[in-house]
Symmetry: C2
Subunit: 386 residues, 2 copies
């Protein structure tokens, strides 16, 4: 019997993962596939944070912007991994993540937006991304429901979408098949130490969870975990996003593919739902759905696809993304020995999950991080080489 | 033991009221106060129909339009009755209906709307209604949160609002104190007859409810009650309305009084809620909340009161108003002996409840209908004088 409380589970663990969102579950699954003994601690239910609210866009081309080349390379790398990642999950668990590889159409709704989108298109081409410029008429030929305001657009035929809630179910099932111990309602409250090294956490129920490594995958809450000493908390803040679920009478009735404007993205699901997201708001841990947020999403969605007016507004909800100072994630060693970070994915958690999971599993096995994850090295904020 | 099923309740009833919305409950209460034995049959819960969705505006001045003078007189008569009606309810039951006599400001958001509102203002004055024309600046002096689009407006200082859900609670309590037997989950399925005269209904649980008069107060469902022979069903159809509940941090933060535009009305509650209603849609028995409906309400609310953007969108819901061919209610004898109608109040059910209740109670006591209810005479649709 250990001195400080009940031990929990007779076998020694290789890793504890704190947080059962897409990042935590995917990382735990990949680690378990490499033979590690892994436990996931989730204070609520799997996907209770941003994963349960996300639209599930896999659209790296549209994210291309100036000065974020390394992040784009990570996104493209993870994007390439998605089809086999989703297929493997489905084959193992029978759960379908709702992956639709239907492409995306990024549209401009006036001349100013068109000029800006054209500049971004030129950047896409300079980066050798798969994208085609279309004039307004050509956009409407591709996507018949587009409104008359559409000035022009960029067709990215390889972009895709999936259903993050379905993905969480699949990942949880895969974790359990791989022997991961997923514990819900388990809220860490105190770090366990072995000298200066983190050796696990105690949860509020009094259980102690000891492992060689503790992976912090707590999403927007990663920067404010009370059980870590303040200097060990990563620079992660919540970034609020409001998002709508619209429901049509059948699949594909309003849009055949993802449609993205400067202010809204519209992601069709196979079952007739259309997800309209998302605001980006610095509001702390506020998850209120506001009149202004819903208004902006509906207004812009209506400008792009007027037929959405007839769809049922099934859900309006707000989630919290884990933002970092430079919008890139944190995957790598934390500020204390024994701590690994897998957080800070901001708007790209679903997209970056396969790559992040491979990275976390590699680090837990003392392997090198994939080169495309260099952008996520946490040491960029501490000045200490990892 | 009657031949055709179980009798229910040992005493003979004077009246059965079908429907426990604001109209049915108010009518039952007033009838019981006059010494009648009354039972209310509600298939769901009190206020489950339009009463639970309504904004609760008591704004007859704003309803003034050409060719509806008699309806306006009924509305003004009932409006005058409201303060004492609400006070009596509160004194009897301790339940507050949330009546706020703060006036209403009817605003025009562009020059066209201003010209139309000015014409309606001239009509109001010709009808001796209490109303004052204000220029845009004067509107903003009265209601500081109004947006720059406001061109002009009409201030109606005696208009008021209340909380229909609170009103339903008060009316139910008052009914029970007055000895009314309010039965929930009681769904009529068959008429009972005494020769050619309606003598009550049988409910789905097999109970028989016999009374000298049956009052149909089933709101939007009044025109399609299966237990009445088709010729006896009144010409009532459902008119869909979508409505939003916004919530602010405290009372009066966004609007100090009711604000009405051509397309939306905004009704403040004492607890900080602001009700934004309502669409008017001919969609049959459809209560889906749609992207288009919510968008229109939020857009227009934002044009009038930009500060609503920060309010929480707490609820979006659709209800069904009981519409008639001429928008006036039906209060009086139905097409078969023993049937009374108290339905068809369209957008004015809460406003017209005190007057309607007095009218129903009078008819049940063989008294004359109040003169101001002449507009509601059902015989106007049958050609048969009542």
């Amino acid at each position: 019997m250990p001195r400080n409380g009940r031990s929990n589970g007779s076998e020694a663990l290789d890793a504890i993962v704190v947080g059962a969102g897409v990042i935590g579950l995917a990382s735990a699954w990949r680690a378990a596939q490499r033979g590690l003994r892994v436990r996931v601690l989730e204070r609520d239910e799997p996907g209770a944070g941003a994963s349960g609210v996300a639209a599930g866009m896999l659209a790296p081309v549209g994210e291309a912007t100036w000065g974020e080349d390394l992040l784009l390379q990570a996104a493209l790398s993870s994007h390439r991994a998605w089809p086999s990642f989703a297929a493997e999950l489905r084959d193992l668990t029978g759960e379908d993540s709702g992956l639709i590889q239907g492409g995306a159409l990024h549209v401009a709704l006036d001349a100013d937006e068109a000029a800006e989108l054209r500049r971004r298109y030129d950047l896409m081409i300079s980066l050798s991304l798969e994208a085609e410029w279309l004039r307004g008429r050509e956009c409407r030929e591709l996507e018949g429901g587009l409104g008359p305001a559409v000035f022009g657009g960029v067709h990215a035929p390889h972009e895709a979408g999936l259903d993050p809630s379905a993905l969480v179910r699949a990942l949880r099932a895969a974790c359990e098949l791989a022997g991961v111990d997923v514990r819900c309602g388990a809220r860490p409250c105190e770090a366990l130490w072995d000298g200066d090294a983190l050796s696990g956490v105690r949860t509020e129920d009094g259980d102690e969870h000891r492992a060689a490594r503790t992976v912090l995958a707590a999403g927007a809450w990663s920067g404010s975990v009370g059980w870590l000493p303040e200097p060990a908390r990563p620079p992660v803040r919540p970034v609020k996003g409001q998002i709508l679920t619209l429901r049509g009478p059948r699949s594909g009735s309003v849009a055949g593919r993802i449609v993205v404007t400067e202010r809204v993205y519209l992601v069709p699901r196979a079952d007739g739902r259309l997800i309209a997201g998302a605001t980006v708001e610095e509001m702390g841990f506020d998850t209120r759905v506001t009149a202004g947020g819903v208004h902006e999403l509906l207004r812009e969605a209506y400008r792009a696809l007027p037929d959405i007016a007839e769809l049922e507004l099934e859900r309006a909800v707000a989630g919290l993304r884990p933002g970092t100072p430079d919008n890139a994630p944190l995957v790598g060693p934390g500020n204390v020995e024994g701590l690994l970070l897998a957080t800070g994915h901001f708007r790209n958690g679903v997209l970056l999950a396969p790559l992040t999971a491979d990275g976390v599993a590699a680090l837990l096995c003392e392997d090198a991080l994939p080169a495309s994850l260099a952008v996520a090295d946490p040491s960029r904020f501490t000045g200490v080489a990892s």
